[in-house]
C-alpha cells in the first residue's frame, strides 16, 4: 500500500506522555467534602454545646413559636364563629373551615398541616435543646436546669396548641427519634402528659438559680428569670388543668402563677414582632378597611355585645361592608393596631376567668361572681345581676370569655369543652361546625 500522506508525523513521545499523565492525574486527586456553606448543622450542637450554641436554640425556639400563627388563629377563630377570613386568593377559608355545603376539613392542606408542622418543629428544637443542654460540660448545673425548664415549658405549650386543633383525634408525644415516632395518643392521655411535662419543667426552674443564661424577648418581660418563667409555666398548667376539668388543681396552680385579681388584664406573656432582620411581623394584623385579604368580625360579635362594653373596640366599623361567598360583615377584626403589636400567649384576664370557672366548678359561686365582676366592671359593665346558679354562671363565664379573649383562640375550644358547639351561629344553610381537625395525612395514621 502506498501511503498518501506527503509527510509522516513522527510521534513525539514526551509531550504526549506528559499530557496523558496530566489528564489522568487531574481527576484522581481527591475532592474535598464541602461543608454546608449556608448553615450550621445539627451535629455541631450535639456534643459540648457552648452557651452561645444553646442560646441560639433558645432564641430560635421562641422565634419559631410564632411560625404559622396566622393560620392557627384563622382556623380556631373561623370555626369558633369569631370572624370570617376572606381571601381573594384562597377560597378554603370560607368553604372548608365553615363546612360550606359538602366541604369538609382536608387532612392534607395548609390549614391542617402547616400549624401542626410548625408546632412540632418547635418541639423538635426544644428536644435538640434538651439533648444539647444535657450533653455538654461547658455550662453550670443551674444553667442546665434553666435550659431544661425553658425547653420543657415551651414544648408543653406547643403540644397543647396542636391538641386544641386535633382535639379527640389526639397528638404524638414521643417525637425524639424521627425514625421511630411514638404513637398518637388520645386527648386525655395527651393532656396528662402535657401537664406532667409542665410539672417537670417547674422542677427544673426551681433549681435554675436566679438568672437564666439566655436572653428572652420583650414578650417575656417580667418572666425572664427562673422564678418569673415559673409563674408563666404555672399559668399554662392552670389552663391545662381546666381543660382536664381538674378545677381544684387549677386553683392551686393559679396561686403559683402570675394570676392577680387586682392586676392588669393585659399582664402576661406575649409573642412579639418587629421589623428587625430575621424577625417576623404580626400575622394577625390586617389594616382596617382592607380589601381582598381581610378578617371580618362575625356579625354576632357586635350584635351580642352589651352597649357599654369597651370590648366592642376589638372590632372596627368598615367604610363599606365586605362580602364573599354569601357572607357579609361590616366590622374588621381590630385587635391589633400595627403589624408589630404583640399577641398574648397567656395573660391575667384569662387567669381571672379560669379562677372564676374553677370556682364555679368547685362550688364557690360567690367567689366566681366576684371574679366575673372584676372582668365586667373592668370593661365598663355593671356587676352581674343574674341568678347565682352553676348553670347561669357557666353561661356568664363563657360569655365573658367570648368577649375578653376574642380572637385569642379560645371561643371554639370553650364551646367544645362545654358541648355547646351547636350553639354557635350558622350563617349559611348546610354549614358545619367542626369539632376536630383531622390528623395530617403525612403522619400516615
Amino acid at each position: 500500500m502506498i501511503i498518501m500522506k506527503n509527510y509522516i508525523k513522527q510521534l513525539k513521545y514526551k509531550p504526549v506522555v506528559a499530557l496523558l499523565a496530566m489528564a489522568l492525574v487531574l481527576p484522581s486527586c481527591e475532592l474535598d467534602d464541602i461543608p454546608d456553606p449556608n448553615n450550621p448543622t445539627i451535629e455541631s450542637v450535639r456534643e459540648n454545646a457552648t452557651v452561645d450554641d444553646l442560646n441560639n436554640l433558645v432564641v430560635g425556639t421562641e422565634s419559631g413559636m410564632r411560625n404559622v400563627l396566622g393560620t392557627y388563629y384563622d382556623n380556631v377563630g373561623v370555626i369558633g364563629r369569631e370572624h370570617y377570613r376572606f381571601s381573594g386568593a384562597d377560597p378554603r377559608f370560607t368553604s372548608d373551615l365553615l363546612g360550606a355545603a359538602n366541604a369538609v376539613l382536608d387532612n392534607n392542606t395548609f390549614y391542617t398541616t402547616n400549624p401542626w408542622s410548625a408546632r412540632y418543629r418547635v418541639v423538635k428544637n426544644t428536644n435538640i435543646l434538651i439533648d444539647a443542654a444535657t450533653n455538654t460540660e461547658l455550662i453550670t448545673e443551674e444553667q442546665r436546669q434553666g435550659y431544661l425548664g425553658f425547653a420543657k415549658t415551651i414544648k408543653a405549650h406547643q403540644l397543647l396548641m396542636n391538641l386544641t386543633m386535633m382535639n379527640e383525634n389526639g397528638i404524638r408525644l414521643d417525637v425524639e427519634d424521627p425514625d421511630n415516632l411514638g404513637p398518637i395518643v388520645d386527648k386525655a392521655a395527651a393532656l396528662t402528659a402535657i401537664s406532667g411535662l409542665l410539672d417537670e419543667a417547674a422542677d427544673h426552674l426551681q433549681q435554675a438559680g436566679t438568672e437564666f443564661a439566655f436572653p428572652l424577648s420583650e414578650g417575656f418581660e417580667g418572666f425572664s428569670t427562673p422564678s418569673g418563667f415559673l409563674e408563666f409555666n404555672r399559668a399554662l398548667a392552670a389552663r391545662v388543668a381546666v381543660y382536664r376539668e381538674n378545677y381544684a388543681e387549677a386553683l392551686t396552680l393559679l396561686q403559683a402563677s402570675f394570676f392577680d385579681l387586682d392586676g392588669a388584664f393585659s399582664n402576661g406573656v406575649y409573642y412579639v414582632f418587629s421589623t428587625q432582620p430575621g424577625d417576623q411581623l404580626n400575622p394577625l394584623y390586617f389594616a382596617p378597611n382592607a380589601a381582598g385579604e381581610v378578617r371580618i368580625a362575625h356579625p354576632s360579635y357586635i350584635e351580642d355585645i352589651a352597649p357599654n362594653d369597651d370590648r366592642a373596640s376589638k372590632v372596627s366599623l368598615r367604610n363599606a361592608p365586605a362580602t364573599q361567598s354569601f357572607l357579609t360583615g361590616r366590622y374588621d377584626v381590630a385587635l391589633y393596631a400595627t403589624n408589630t403589636d404583640p399577641v398574648p400567649i397567656i395573660r391575667n384576664e384569662e387567669l381571672i376567668l379560669i379562677y372564676a370557672e374553677a370556682n364555679i366548678q368547685t362550688g364557690d359561686l360567690g367567689e366566681a361572681v366576684r371574679a366575673l365582676n372584676i372582668i365586667r366592671t373592668g370593661h365598663g359593665l355593671q356587676p352581674y345581676t343574674g341568678p347565682v346558679t352553676e348553670q347561669a354562671l357557666i353561661n356568664e363565664m363563657l360569655e365573658q370569655r367570648r368577649f375578653s379573649l376574642y380572637f385569642e383562640g379560645h371561643r371554639w375550644i370553650d364551646m367544645r369543652r362545654y358541648n355547646r358547639l351547636g350553639q354557635l351561629p350558622i350563617d349559611r344553610g348546610g354549614d358545619d361546625v367542626w369539632v376536630s381537625f383531622p390528623i395530617p395525612f403525612a403522619e400516615n395514621v
Binding site: 509522516i8 481527576p27 474535598d32 448543622t41 422565634s63 386568593a89 417576623q280 380589601a291 381582598g292
Partner: protein
C-alpha cells in the same frame, strides 16, 4: 476541528485508491445549488485526508491546489449532500452542483465528548434543529421560545407570556421529580447555567406562605440569555443512551448548542432589522353585569355604583385595559463573518427591544459574539467562542399570590363599574373590591431582571501523530460561564397594598446573584484504520472537571423612606443568602468501531465523582453501548429504491444529583427581639443520599427511499430512573416535614416517529416537509415512601400525586362520594408537529410550523378565582342547561369535587408562519453593482392561531416555573402574546 470528522475518514476509506504522488494539481470552478443554479458561497472544499482546504467565495468560486497530482476533492455545505470527486491531472476546472439535503444524513451528530459521527451512521435518534428551524420562520423573543414545538420527543411548556421567557422542557417524559428535571445546556463546549432565580416577590405576594422567594415568582430561565440568531444548530441528546457521555450531569438529557462560525472567503456582512408588534393572543372577556348580578356578587351597596357607572357609560373592560397593550418589537442584528485558510471569524451582534402586552413590561437584550478559528500550524489549531450579553426583563407582577396584589388576582374580584384610573393629580383610588388597584400596581411597581453575562470557550486541538493508518490528537477544552443577575422589585409605599397600614410600608426587594461555572476537559482521540481500511477504530480517553459556584443574595428592605428605593432608605432590611458550590471530576473513555459503514458500534464509560454525593470520592460509573446496522451497505442489498435501511439500538446510563444541600440537617436562622436564633430546618438531611440513575434502551430503524426524498425514522425507547430522588413528606410530628431520599423507580416508554419528505420539487417550486409524532407514557414502578401529593394546592383544588403503578404526572383530587380519585394527567397523550418549507421560483419562501398537543390536563385556578370574584366571562352562562350557571356550578364544587378545575389542555397551534421574498440576484447586480449580495424582505408571526377548548389565557402555562413536574397549574399568569413581524435583511 472540522478536519477530523469521521466523515473524512470514511471518504478516505471508500475512495482511497493508490495514486502516484508527484507534482501538484490546481483545480478551480464554481459551486451552485442544483435546484436554483444559485451560487453557493462558503462551501467547504477539502482534500480528504489532508489539511488542505478552502471555501467558496461570495460568487461560489473556488481555487484549490492539491498537494498531489491526483486525488480527491470533497465539497460539503451544511444542508446539502456532500459530494466527492476524483481529480486527475487532466481536471483543471470542476463545476459542482450540490443538492439540498432535507434529511441531513451527512451532518454529524455528537456521540462522544470529543468525537462525532455522520448521522447516517448514528445509533441514536438525535433530534437536531438548525438555523432554518430556529430563526428561519420568525424571530423568537428568547432562545427558549425558539425551540417550542420543534423538537421530537420533547415536551416544552412556556411558563407564561412574560417578557424574557421561562420554559419547562422535558425530554422523553419526566425523568426526575425533585432532582434536576431540566436538561444540561452545552454551548460550544461551555456548560451554560440555566437557573431560574427568584426575584423575591414572595415577600410581597406571600404566594407560598412565609419566606421571601418561592418557585411561584415567575422567574425566567437563564438559557433565555442566548441570542437565537447566533445559533447554527441545536442537538438534543434525549436520554441516557446518548447522554451517558455527560455522566452524572445528564439524567435529564443534554442540549448541545453550536453557534455560527466563519468560513474562509470573502467577508460577509449581514444586517437584518425586524419591526413588529405583540398583542394578547387570547383575552377571555369580562362578565356582563346587571343590577341583580351585582347585588348577588358584590352586595346591595354596590348596586348604585354599578347603575351610576353604567348610565354614565363608565363600565371598563379591565382585562383589555390591563392586558391589551400593543407592544412594539424591534430587533436589529449584524453578522460579520469571513476569514482566510488559517483564520476564520464570526461576529454576531444583536440589539433587541420588545414591549409586553402589559404596559411597562418588556424585554431588552444586547448581545455580542465573537467566534474565532485559527490554524496555528499543521500541529495546532484552536477555536474560541466568546459572548457577552446584557439583558433586562421587566416582568410585571403575575401568578399566584395570597395578598391580593398580583395583577390577575386583584382583577379577578374587580367588577367593571369600579373606577381605578388616576385622578388629575395622578393619584389612584383604592380598589374597594380587591387588596390592590392593579392599574396603580402596574404603573408604579418595578419587577426587573438584569443580567450581565459572559460566556467563553476555548478548544485547542494538537495533532500529535499522523500516519497512513493512525492519527492521534489531543483536545483540550475550557469553558467559562459567568453572570451577575440583579433582580429589582420595587413596591413604593404609595401603593394601595403598601399604604394606610397595609403591607410593609413599601418594599424594595433586590437580589444580587453571582454565578460562575467553569469546565475543563482533556481528551486523547486516536483514529485507526485496519484491514485495508475496512475497519475504523476511534478511541477516546479523557478527563473532565466541572466547577459550579452560585452565590445568591436577596435583600428585602421595607418601611421605605418616601419614594426611595435604595436598601438603606428603609426602616427594616432583611437579607437571605444562599450559596452553592459543587465540584465534579470525571474520566471518560470510548471506543467506536466502524466496519465498512455497515456495522457501527460504540462502547463508552464515564466515571464521575462529585462533592454533591454523600461519599464525595466514590466514582460512579455510567456505561453506554450502541450498534447500528446499515443494511443498504451490505452486498446482499439490491433494492435500489432504498438508499438507507438502518437498524439501530443503544443503551446507556446517566445520573442526576440530589438537590444541593440534601445531605445536611441544618439549623436555620430565626431571630426574635434582636437576638440571633437557630431553629431546625424543616428539611431533614440524608447522609446516605445518592444520585438517581437513569438507564435507557432505545431501538429503531431509519428508512430512506428514492435518494432520501422520503426518510422515515422510528424509535422506541424505554428508560428507567432508579434510586429516584424524592422529597419524602416525613411525619411532621418529627419536627421535619421533608427529607430527600432515594426511594423509587420511574419508567418512561415512548415512541417517536418522523417522516421527512420532498413532496414536490421542480425548478420553480419546492416543498419540503417534516411531520413528527411522539408520545410518552410514564409510570412510577416502585415507590418506597407512601404515595404523596406535590405541586398545586391540595386535593380540594386538584394536585399531582405520586403513587406506585400510576403515571408520574397524574392529577388527583376530591371527587364527591368517591373521595380522592384520579382526575387527569398533565402529560399529553401525544404530540405532533408539521414543519413546512415552500420555495416558489427560488425567491419566495413560505414556511410554517403547526404543533398539536393532544390530551394532558391543566389545573385551572384562574377561572375559579374569577368565579369567586364574580367576574368570569361565562359566569352567567349555563352550558349544560340545568338552570345553574357555570360559575355557580364550579363554586358549588369547591370542597366537594376538584373535577371542574382539572381541564383538558389540548391544542393545535400555528406556532410560526413566515413569508419571505429574496430579491433576484440579477436585479441586485443591476441596482448595486455587486456590492449588495442579498436583500430579503418578509413578514412573519407566531402563536397566530390556537385551537383549544381550554378556558384560560393559554393552555401552555406553569405557575410553579420550570423545574419539577408541576407544570400546567394556571393561576392568573402573564397572558401569552401573538407576535407579528416585518423583516428586512441585507447582505454585503
Amino acid at each position: 476541528m472540522k478536519r477530523h470528522y469521521p466523515l473524512k475518514l470514511l471518504v478516505l476509506l471508500l475512495f482511497l485508491v493508490p495514486f502516484a504522488l508527484f507534482g501538484q494539481t490546481t483545480v478551480q470552478g464554481t459551486v451552485t445549488d442544483a435546484g436554483s443554479g444559485r451560487a453557493l458561497p462558503g462551501v467547504s472544499v477539502v482534500v480528504p485526508g489532508t489539511t488542505v482546504g478552502t471555501n467558496t467565495d461570495a460568487d461560489g468560486n473556488y481555487t484549490i491546489t492539491l498537494p498531489t497530482e491526483s486525488g480527491k476533492l470533497t465539497f460539503s455545505f451544511l444542508g446539502y449532500t456532500s459530494q466527492t470527486f476524483n481529480i486527475t491531472p487532466a481536471v483543471i476546472e470542476l463545476e459542482v452542483q450540490l443538492k439540498e439535503s432535507i434529511t441531513s444524513l451527512d451532518e454529524v451528530v455528537v456521540t462522544g465528548l470529543a468525537t462525532t459521527v455522520k448521522r447516517a451512521n448514528a445509533a441514536n435518534a438525535v433530534s437536531t434543529i438548525n438555523t432554518r428551524e430556529i430563526t428561519g420562520i420568525t424571530t423568537p423573543q428568547t432562545m427558549d421560545a425558539a425551540i417550542s414545538g420543534k423538537l421530537v420527543g420533547a415536551n416544552v411548556v412556556s411558563n407564561s407570556g412574560a417578557p424574557g421567557g421561562g420554559i419547562a422542557m422535558k425530554l422523553r417524559g419526566i425523568t426526575s421529580i425533585f432532582g434536576n428535571s431540566q436538561p444540561l445546556y452545552v454551548v460550544d463546549g461551555i456548560i451554560m447555567d440555566n437557573s431560574s432565580i427568584s426575584s423575591g416577590l414572595n415577600a410581597v405576594t406571600a404566594a407560598s406562605g412565609g419566606g421571601n422567594s418561592s418557585n411561584q415568582d415567575n422567574a425566567s430561565n437563564r438559557i433565555a440569555d442566548l441570542n437565537p440568531d447566533d445559533i447554527e444548530s441545536i442537538e438534543i441528546l434525549k436520554g441516557a443512551s446518548a447522554a451517558a457521555i455527560y455522566g452524572s450531569l445528564a439524567s435529564a438529557g443534554v442540549v448541545i448548542i453550536t453557534t455560527k462560525r466563519g468560513a474562509a472567503g470573502k467577508t460577509l456582512i449581514d444586517f437584518s432589522q425586524d419591526i413588529g408588534f405583540a398583542e394578547a393572543a387570547n383575552l377571555l372577556g369580562m362578565r356582563t353585569l346587571n343590577e341583580e348580578r351585582v347585588e348577588a356578587s358584590f352586595g346591595a351597596s354596590a348596586v348604585p355604583l354599578f347603575v351610576a357607572a353604567r348610565d354614565a357609560g363608565r363600565l371598563v373592560d379591565y382585562e383589555e385595559e390591563l392586558y391589551g397593550n400593543t407592544g412594539m418589537l424591534y430587533s436589529s442584528r449584524l453578522n460579520v463573518s469571513g476569514g482566510s485558510d488559517k483564520t476564520r471569524f464570526f461576529v454576531g451582534g444583536l440589539i433587541q427591544d420588545e414591549e409586553g402586552i402589559i404596559r411597562r413590561t418588556g424585554y431588552e437584550k444586547k448581545s455580542i459574539r465573537f467566534n474565532l478559528d485559527h490554524v496555528v500550524s499543521d500541529r495546532f489549531d484552536f477555536s474560541l467562542s466568546s459572548n457577552f450579553i446584557n439583558s433586562t426583563a421587566k416582568r410585571g407582577l403575575t401568578n399566584n399570590d395570597n395578598a391580593g396584589v398580583s395583577f390577575g388576582v386583584a382583577m379577578s374580584s374587580t367588577p367593571s363599574f369600579v373606577d381605578l384610573f388616576p385622578d388629575e393629580s395622578g393619584l389612584y383610588p383604592n380598589n374597594p373590591f380587591g387588596a390592590s388597584n392593579f392599574l396603580q400596581t402596574r404603573d408604579l411597581i418595578t419587577n426587573e431582571e438584569n443580567t450581565d453575562r459572559f460566556l467563553g470557550g476555548l478548544t485547542l486541538n494538537s495533532y500529535l501523530q499522523e500516519s497512513g493508518v493512525s492519527n492521534t490528537k489531543l483536545v483540550i477544552r475550557a469553558g467559562l460561564d459567568f453572570y451577575n443577575l440583579r433582580t429589582r422589585a420595587l413596591f413604593p409605599r404609595l401603593l394601595q397594598f403598601q399604604s394606610a397600614g397595609n403591607g410593609t410600608g413599601g418594599a424594595s426587594i433586590q437580589g444580587n446573584n453571582y454565578n460562575l461555572n467553569t469546565n475543563y476537559a482533556a481528551f486523547l482521540v486516536n483514529n485507526l484504520s485496519l484491514s485495508d481500511n475496512s475497519l475504523f477504530l476511534t478511541t477516546t480517553l479523557g478527563a473532565t472537571r466541572e466547577n459550579f459556584n452560585q452565590d445568591l443574595t436577596l435583600n428585602v428592605a421595607t418601611q421605605l423612606i418616601g419614594t426611595q428605593s435604595n436598601l438603606d432608605q428603609a426602616g427594616a432590611v432583611e437579607v437571605d443568602q444562599t450559596q452553592l458550590k459543587v465540584r465534579n471530576k470525571g474520566l471518560f473513555m470510548q471506543e467506536e468501531v466502524n466496519w465498512r459503514d455497515r456495522i457501527i458500534a460504540t462502547a463508552g464509560l464515564r466515571l464521575d465523582k462529585s462533592s454533591n454525593n454523600a461519599d464525595v470520592n466514590e466514582f460512579k460509573a455510567f456505561p453506554k453501548f450502541s450498534v447500528a446496522l446499515n443494511l443498504t451497505n451490505f452486498d446482499f442489498w439490491d433494492y435500489d429504491n432504498f438508499n438507507m435501511v438502518k437498524l439501530r439500538a443503544a443503551y446507556g446510563e446517566a445520573g442526576g444529583f440530589p438537590p444541593f444541600g440534601a445531605k445536611f440537617t441544618s439549623l436555620v436562622a430565626s431571630n426574635i427581639g434582636g437576638n440571633p436564633g437557630s431553629i431546625v430546618n424543616a428539611q431533614r438531611g440524608n447522609e446516605g443520599i445518592e444520585q438517581e440513575r437513569q438507564k435507557e434502551f432505545e431501538t429503531g430503524f431509519d428508512i430512506g427511499m428514492w435518494n432520501n426524498r422520503i426518510l422515515f425514522e422510528a424509535t422506541y425507547y424505554i428508560k428507567t430512573v432508579s434510586d429516584l430522588i424524592l422529597i419524602r413528606n416525613t411525619p411532621p410530628a418529627s419536627g421535619f416535614t421533608t427529607q430527600v431520599v432515594n426511594a423509587g423507580e420511574l419508567q418512561n416508554r415512548g415512541v417517536e416517529l418522523s417522516l421527512s419528505t420532498v413532496p414536490l420539487e421542480t425548478t420553480n417550486f419546492k416543498w419540503d416537509s417534516k411531520v413528527s409524532y411522539w408520545t410518552n407514557e410514564s409510570e412510577i414502578t416502585q415507590l418506597d415512601v407512601p404515595a404523596f401529593p406535590l405541586g398545586a394546592f391540595g386535593n380540594t383544588l386538584g394536585t399531582f400525586f405520586i403513587e406506585e403503578g400510576e403515571s408520574a404526572t397524574q392529577i388527583v383530587g376530591i371527587k364527591g362520594d368517591e373521595g380522592v380519585a384520579k382526575l387527569g394527567d398533565a402529560a399529553p397523550d401525544f404530540q405532533m408537529n408539521f414543519h413546512n418549507f415552500l420555495t416558489i421560483k427560488q425567491n419566495l419562501t413560505f414556511s410554517f410550523l403547526l404543533h398539536w398537543k393532544q390530551g394532558g390536563q391543566n389545573i385551572n385556578l384562574t377561572q375559579l378565582l374569577t368565579d369567586l370574584g364574580g367576574t368570569s366571562f361565562d359566569y352567567d352562562d349555563d352550558d349544560d342547561g340545568d338552570g345553574i350557571s357555570n360559575a355557580e356550578e364550579r363554586i358549588d364544587a369547591l370542597g366537594v369535587s376538584a373535577e371542574p378545575f382539572v381541564q383538558d389542555a389540548s391544542y393545535l397551534r400555528l406556532r410560526e408562519v413566515g413569508l419571505y421574498y429574496t430579491l433576484p440576484t440579477p436585479l441586485l447586480e443591476r441596482a448595486f453593482g455587486g456590492i449588495v449580495r442579498q436583500v430579503r424582505v418578509g413578514a412573519s408571526a407566531n402563536n397566530i392561531l390556537t385551537f383549544t377548548d381550554y378556558d384560560g389565557y393559554d393552555p401552555e402555562v406553569s405557575n410553579f416555573g420550570g423545574n419539577g413536574l408541576s407544570t400546567g397549574v394556571d393561576v392568573t399568569p402573564f397572558p401569552s402574546a401573538r407576535r407579528y413581524f416585518f423583516h428586512f435583511s441585507i447582505g454585503f
